[in-house]
């Protein structure tokens, strides 16, 4: 396993009175894909959103425990800087209602890049890395909402890449897409792991098997099992993991 980029120690999280995460400890390796699986409501999305502090947006959330990104406590660092380093791709494609170009340039502009040439280069590189450049290069000024769902999701990935993050969080990035778009995103994710640490929530066991290096199984807010994907699926150590991946519940 590669060097960990994020280290989570004893993480507990509450929404008001109800506890959503129970004493989760995990190390997210760099330049690898970590899949988070588990039934609905098991806390995997909540866990993902804790990593870039998107849960801060919900007033009733309370967090205990330690999350270190590159050795730094994420709750002590500047949240905007943290989210620049740890990008997020959402379940439903959510491009802004502006041009394709402006969508991708939004992040760099937010962080102070004004120079037109630099922006042009960043936008092109991000779109190329997200494998959508050829489809949109002639219509960068067109509204992003005119793209298909799969294209929108790849645009959102490009938008996240444009700020040059280190980690990419993906919350069921293909659940709203058709099979062809899904396989394109999967190919894309596989190519991205050369440069990024990727954490991906998925409901789809095959997807976890196809793309991920490590898999973490969550149940009722607890991390039940975490290990190399092939091993976890073929020889689960925990009975509950076995029951889940063989489809006995979920």
């Amino acid at each position: 396993m590669n060097q960990p980029v994020i280290t989570v120690q004893d993480l507990n999280l509450w929404y008001g009175q109800s506890q959503a995460l129970r004493s989760v400890s995990i190390q997210i390796p760099d330049r690898a894909i970590t899949a988070l699986i588990g039934p609905s409501g098991c806390g995997k999305s909540t866990f993902l959103k804790t990593l870039d502090r998107m849960n801060d947006l919900i007033p009733s959330v309370r967090v205990e425990g330690q999350v270190l990104y590159q050795g730094q406590d994420i709750f002590q660092t500047d949240v905007n800087q943290l989210r620049r380093e740890i990008g997020m791709v959402f379940q439903k494609p959510n491009p802004f209602p502006m041009s394709i170009y402006d969508n991708v340039a939004y992040g760099p502009r937010t962080h102070g890049t004004r120079d037109k040439k630099t922006l042009d280069q960043l936008v092109e590189r991000a779109l190329r890395d997200a494998a959508i450049w050829d489809e949109v290069k002639d219509r960068l000024k067109k509204n992003a909402l005119s793209l298909s769902g799969g294209q929108q999701q790849r645009l959102c990935i490009a938008r996240a890449l444009a700020v040059q993050p280190r980690v990419l969080l993906m919350d069921e990035p293909t659940s709203a897409l058709d099979p062809i778009s899904t396989s394109r995103i999967e190919d894309l994710v596989l190519s991205l792991k050369e440069h990024y640490a990727i954490v991906m929530v998925t409901h789809n066991m095959q997807q976890a098997l196809r793309v991920s290096d490590q898999t973490a199984f969550f149940l009722l807010g607890e991390l039940i099992e975490f290990g190399e994907t092939g091993t976890l699926f073929s020889q689960p150590r925990d009975k509950r993991t076995e029951d889940y991946i063989t489809g006995r519940f979920g």
């Binding site: 998107m54 943290l82 990008g87 959510n94 802004f96 992040g107 937010t110 509204n143 909402l145 938008r159």
Partner: protein, 283 residues
Amino acid sequence: MMMTSSPRRPLVPLVRVLSLLAAGLTALLTLFLIGYILLQGLPHLSWELVSTSPSYISQRVGILPDLLNTLYITLTTLLFVLPLGVGAAVYLTEYASSRRLAGAIEYAAEALAGIPSIIYGLVGMLLFSNTLGTSLMAGALTLVIMNLPTIMRNTQESLKTVPQSYREGAFGLGAGKWRVIRTVVLPNCLEGVVTGCILSVGRILGESAALLFTAGFAHTANDFFTALSSPGATLTVALYVYAKEQGEFGAAFAIAAILMLLALAINLLATLSAKFFQRRNAS
């Protein structure tokens, strides 16, 4: 056949006829009113009327000052009420952490919207005319309070329709709160701001009671800044003065015709802007 329904049956055609009659009467009344005002007003409408000031010496009636005053007071009111109303809406929807405080402010705004305008006039007179003198500025500030709920509520409704996913997307890229609001939220609630503006302009043009107390009756053509510090009649107030105190019904109806045309123009503008935003949202 059920027996219960048969005695009701004779009512059906009757209800039909009555409702048709009501609809017809409504249409007729509206058309009559518009037609009557235009017929009475348009013959008195002349270039001289709208381009001169009134003069007792040459016994001339001119409404240029009233037109200018109306324009000035509308602009001034919007200048103050827009940042205030939009700002309040942004605070309540995006920042306020206490639901109870936000609720109280919203309730106050609702109540403010239902108060008869003459009460605004009375309060405006005590608050603004006593300090600034009877002037267009005092009138405009009174209208600011009156129109605040309109702008605020329309903006708020519009803010609520901006998808949460846009905000999340922008926050996820490391944008700060204000940047998210400025670049992603506000541009997408322009529709509500514009709608609020159009409604407010309509209300400002039609307002007389509140201005009788606060802005005065003078018919002097002034430049913008002089006008703000001097008393002046808007079109509606001028209409009242000409009809009620000077017996100049020609001028009064001419003003009425102008106001009527403006009201129709505003309705058209509202429809056009709704269409524009519909098309923009669809593309």
